[in-house]
Amino acid sequence: MDRELILDVRDVSYRYPGAVSDALAGVSLAVAAGEVHAVLGPNGSGKTTLVRVALGLAPPAAGRAAILGRPAAAWSRRDLARVVGVVTQREDHLFPQRVRETVLLGRYARLSLWGAERAEDHAAVERALARCDVSALAHRWIWTLSGGEYQRVRLARALAQEPRLLVLDEPTASLDVRHEMQLFELVRALADRDGLAVLLITHHVNLAARFADRVLLLADGRPAGDGAPADVLTRETVERVFAWPVSIASFEGRPQMIPLRKKEDRT
């Protein structure tokens, strides 16, 4: 079955104003419906810049980025928000909010200027809350949530946008194992059952290897490999990109990385 291509980034380069070198050079990325595509790389390797270029927030110096066949820069923010939902690394809470309120913000791009929220908007919010298993938290204040609950609420807000593509930027950065696994299982299910295209930015090599269909490995803004986890995450490549000796094991057919201790530390 040929799956619909949602995000198509071809050979893009980007340089921040005033910088001496490219933050991205010759990077390509294609994400189809029902597919989880992970972008892996050390800190500062250009993962977040790639997302900005892919979503039309930074114009590429070379190459092109297209969403549903239309150049990323040609989308208005409003139209794009109906197609792409993003869970950013950070957000502020200037004013206190309840869970249902913040998820309702996901409907913004589908509301008219003066009109109130319609029944279908509230229905979409309830569906998103249920999908992320946070319906029971709907009346809670955001600040009372645990880290795992909070991330699932933010994911619910992105789902309330009813997007085709979901972009997650380090969604499990400060979560413990259980919440991390819960969130990744949920993301996998969103791709498998709901047919969402998922772009997952992370530096968790092992989780990406177990949950993603494809991984793009970035090093200094340049592609160091793109393909099935087993093809990309070889010992040589991972050691080179992360600048640390590792051993690669295979678990359930997926590569798993074990970082090695330095030789002189062992007795």
Partner: protein
């Protein structure tokens, strides 16, 4: 229920402003009294419009600069208005509209300068720089104003200061009409920005991903709030506190979503200034208090009460 309560408060404030005053007008003669028709009624309407404008501008600015303690007076507009008024008097421009017009021009000049400085970092309006620029422009205009005053004929310039801090005593049907024609556009722009302001409270990047055109929202809110404040300062001088305390009080009652908050702030601000101005006229009659003093005296205890209730929950 809350909306009904707020409308009742506004109606009572309006009724009190018309009925009470240093001159005794029997209730039966209210409709025919010249004092009511040419003095109290236009003054009451002006107080409502000015108070509402200041509170609405304050609520918008707090979300824009991402600081709940922001107040329209932080924008440097009052300083610009004062400088304009003092200049007009120093240059002996004399016509009934000279002072408000000069004050308005001064406020617009200050706004343009602050806006330009807010863009210093690049093409995007930086809210943090905006506050600093407002404070800097305010300090600069205050310095120039003081220099003008100290170098000039004291009697004349005293007039400028009295006018600038003089509250609503210059109200007339003309100023009410002028504001009724002028204010609806910036008010509509601010009300239309209600939902994007909710998104902006999450930060600029999340707001963009949720579909808000962040740069355009910031510019529209800044310009609309400044235009409202400039007009309010031009017709009534500097009135502090309404733009700070009313949005906060309304947040406690209506929550933080701007769609109900902004109209509630407008009505609440109007009611507070109506009541304050009535007190200012009546309390030490036949003399008048400055309405800014009264807004602070009424506003602070109300604020403390609401704050206690809020923290108790």
């Amino acid at each position: 229920m809350r909306w009904l309560g707020l409308v009742v408060v506004v109606a009572c404030a309006l009724a009190l402003a018309v009925v009470l005053g240093p001159a005794h007008v029997p209730l039966a003669d209210l409709a025919t009294s010249d004092v009511v028709r040419s003095l109290r009624l236009p003054r009451a309407l002006l107080a409502f419009l000015v108070g509402g404008s200041l509170a609405l501008a304050g609520a918008g600015l707090q979300a824009l600069v991402r600081n709940p303690l922001a107040d329209p007076s932080l924008l440097g507009l009052s300083g610009g208005a004062g400088l304009g008024a003092v200049l007009a008097i120093a240059l002996h421009v004399s016509s009934p509209w000279a002072l408000p017009l000069a004050a308005f021009a001064g406020a617009l000049g200050a706004m343009a300068l602050v806006y330009r400085l807010g863009l210093v970092g690049g093409a995007e309006l930086d809210p943090r720089v905006l506050i600093l620029a407002g404070v800097a422009v305010g300090a600069f205009t205050a310095a120039v104003t003081t220099a003008l005053v100290s170098l000039s004929d004291a009697a004349e310039l005293r007039n400028a200061f009295l006018w600038l801090w003089g509250g609503l005593s210059g109200a007339s049907w003309d100023s009410v009409l002028l504001l009724c024609v002028y204010a609806p556009l910036p008010i509509a722009v601010l009300l239309a920005a209600a939902r994007p302001l909710d998104l902006l409270a999450l930060g600029e990047e999340p707001a963009r991903h949720l579909g808000a055109d962040v740069e355009s929202v910031k510019r529209r809110v800044y310009v609309a709030a400044s235009l409202l404040t400039a007009a309010a300062v031009a017709v009534s001088g500097v009135i502090g506190f309404v733009g700070l305390v009313i949005p906060h009080a309304m947040r406690l009652l209506w929550g933080h979503r701007h769609r109900p908050l902004l109209p509630a702030a407008f009505l609440g601000g109007g009611a507070l200034l109506l009541l304050s101005d009535t007190v200012a006229r009546v309390a030490v009659a036949p003399r008048e208090l400055q309405v800014g003093i009264v807004t602070a005296l009424i506003g602070v205890p109300v604020f403390v009460l609401l704050l206690r209730r809020w923290t108790a929950n």
